[in-house]
């Protein structure tokens, strides 16, 4: 049966809205920003957007359930601190495992509160954000930890074939895996069902409690990945500033990407486009010598516009 025109438009906007916006922005920058069209800028853009992208991947799942996780920045900080401590003593593998496990524990805590005890995700993760950041500071007494371990920092500087930074490979792998999981496996279908109508999903036999908790755990694990990659790139970790206020960027990437904020089908490719778009805004602001503060305002306008347009596409 042929879909009505409005539904066709909605599908188009949903699936390609972020990509269209990204294309428009790229064109705008190629024309108006000096030095934008260069290979270095291209790789820089992708490498720098790794952190936001990792956070946004996990956030996509949580927002698709209808909730939110604003503790990702603090989870990132805690994982990074633990990792930095271990790496500076020479145990890289143990550090990575511990970092991921801690983050998963935090995600499990948040997920249980939200799924089982039906506490508003907003409040649960807001408190968790405070607690985790406080714990991260307590662990190192507020000091910045530097991890000058060659094996570890060398990893972040690998370039495949001498050209492609390893972060790009990680991004591609992550997006590919998430796309397959969400769009080709039953997990994605269940998630969409739960996001659209939690009660109906529960009655249909989907284990909604496990699903919801799992999404929060995954989100925190992705946050720990982001922390690991960031620490490897920057070779040090400051508990006060690592991941600070990055949750808003992650939410922005997801919202621009087209995942409905009230819950619904997660749009992985859209999130990818959103993350790159936001990083492009930051780079654009930098290259035009505008102060960083303006980028905050620009990003806000983008978020509001994205929500408005996606919502209009719904009706």
């Amino acid at each position: 049966m042929k879909k009505r025109k409005t539904e066709q438009n909605h599908d188009l906007l949903y699936r390609y809205g972020a990509a269209i916006a990204l294309a428009l922005f790229t064109v705008f920058n190629c024309i108006f920003t000096r030095n934008f069209v260069s290979v270095t800028t291209f790789w820089n853009l992708l490498v720098q957007s790794t952190t936001i992208l990792m956070l946004a991947m996990g956030m996509t799942l949580v927002i698709a359930t209808g909730g939110i996780d604003i503790s990702v920045g603090s989870t990132m900080a805690l994982s990074a601190i633990v990792l930095a401590l271990c790496v500076s003593k020479g145990h890289i593998a143990a550090g990575v495992i511990l970092a991921v496990l801690l983050a998963a524990a935090g995600g499990l805590f948040a997920g249980t509160l939200v799924a089982r005890f039906r506490i508003l995700p907003m409040v649960a993760t807001l408190s968790l954000q405070y607690m985790l950041r406080g714990i991260a500071k307590v662990v190192v007494d507020g000091y910045r930890i530097s991890c000058m371990n060659d094996a570890f920092t060398g990893f972040a500087r690998i370039r495949i074939g001498g050209v492609v930074p390893i972060q790009v490979l990680i991004i591609v792998l992550t997006v590919a895996v998430m796309y397959i999981v969400v769009n080709r496996m039953s997990f994605g279908a269940k998630l969409e069902a739960y996001g659209n109508n939690p009660a109906a999903a529960r009655i249909s036999g989907i284990n909604t409690m496990a699903l919801c908790t799992f999404c929060f755990v995954l989100c925190s694990i992705f946050a720990s990945f982001a922390g690991i990659l960031e620490t490897a790139r920057v070779t040090s970790c400051d508990p006060a500033t690592m991941g600070y206020q990055l949750e808003t960027d992650a939410i922005a990437a997801v919202v621009v990407g087209g995942t409905p904020v009230t819950g619904g089908k997660p749009n992985i490719l859209g999130t990818f486009c959103g993350a790159v778009l936001l990083q492009m805004v930051t780079i654009m602001v930098n290259m035009h010598n505008i102060t960083y503060s303006y980028s905050l305002m620009i990003k806000t306008v983008i978020i509001v516009a994205a929500v408005y347009l996606h919502r209009r596409g719904h009706r």
Partner: protein
């Protein structure tokens, strides 16, 4: 017996009083000086600086929403006050309130009319206003030298050396807030909108208008709080106010406001804010745990209170401890 009945009634209407009592007992055990007039007036002075934010947050929570931008509006209020203090005292008081009301209005539009989920809408506003503050004053502390005397009275004035002007204003605000919620139509509307928006619409109450009112008041009170603090301190750091939203939510929630909306009282918020203030005070007085732990405990307290709230509400709505089917997860 009569006294006992009175106490029972008071506790039942404000369960957080029990928490306050426990906190007072704990505090006086930990530190000998706690119950001294000086210390208690210190505590009251502290809570009256950021207390108004919690009252504003109560209005928004009653409507079933939340306002995460209060920290940024606080900073904006501070900056605007400093800027206009060079021109006239009247403007220095009016302009921050106007700015707070304006951004509160925007919040209300986003959440009420555009129907954005509250967390996305107010996080966006939070980011926008923080960016605005950074644009206005750069990254360094902003100060305009000595403030005019009448402004300084606002923040630093005292009577009898323990009743401060901010405290008096806070008490007046509490009374006004209580009056608004209990005796005016606008206030009663907030309870209905938070309790059951569909019923509210059917009764003829405009949900967007109520939300806009609540957010505007919240914005005004946050800016007002920023104004009071800056007249006391004299300068404004651009990243100031971060964390105020958590403290405000904690104050309202500990005081008995349900995050799902429809339940809450100004007196409860006062008790909640006092408990948080006492906690900070006790924490600062002890040297056993480092200051970084304070954030951990604040978050933990909020989770604990919300957890208890969730369990109680769940019991109230289903009558049983747990129901498997037909409850949306």
């Amino acid at each position: 017996m009569k006294i006992w009945n009175f106490i029972k009634k008071a506790v039942r209407s404000n369960v957080s009083l029990v928490g306050l009592f426990i906190m007072l007992v704990l505090a006086s055990c930990i530190n000998q000086n706690f119950l001294s007039m000086e210390n208690l007036s210190n505590v009251f002075r502290q809570i009256s600086l950021t207390g108004p934010i919690a009252v504003g947050m109560l209005f928004v929570i009653l409507c079933g929403s939340i306002d995460l931008s209060v920290g940024s509006v606080f900073a904006l209020g501070a900056v605007v006050t400093l800027y206009f203090s060079k021109y006239s005292v009247a403007m220095a008081i009016a302009m921050p309130l106007l700015c707070g009301a304006f951004f509160g209005f925007i919040n209300g539009l986003l959440v009420g009319c555009m129907k954005m989920p509250p967390f996305v809408g107010t996080i966006s506003t939070q980011m926008f206003i923080r960016g605005l503050v950074l644009v206005l004053i750069g990254e360094n502390t902003y100060s305009v030298g000595k403030l005019p005397g009448s402004l300084q009275v606002l923040g630093k004035g005292e009577f009898f050396s323990f009743i401060t002007v901010p405290a008096i204003i806070f008490v007046v605000l509490l009374a006004a807030g209580s009056f608004l919620l209990n005796r005016t139509r606008i206030g009663r509307n907030m309870y209905v909108v938070g309790g059951n928006p569909e019923s509210a619409t059917m009764m003829g109450i405009s949900v967007p208008a109520t939300l806009i009112t609540a957010y505007t008041l919240s914005g005004m009170l946050a800016a007002f709080s920023g104004m009071i603090v800056v007249t006391r301190i004299g300068s404004a750091y651009p990243l100031t106010g971060q964390g105020n939203e958590l403290a405000a939510i904690a104050g309202a929630v500990i005081g008995g406001a349900y995050l799902s909306g429809g339940v809450g009282k100004v007196s409860g918020t006062f008790i909640g804010v006092t408990i948080m203030g006492l906690f900070t005070n006790v924490f600062n007085m002890q040297s056993f745990l480092s200051s970084f732990w304070e954030r951990v405990f604040t978050g933990a307290i909020l989770i604990a209170v919300v957890f208890v709230q969730a369990v109680i509400t769940h019991q109230k709505t289903t009558g049983k401890k747990k129901r498997k089917i037909l409850t949306a997860s």
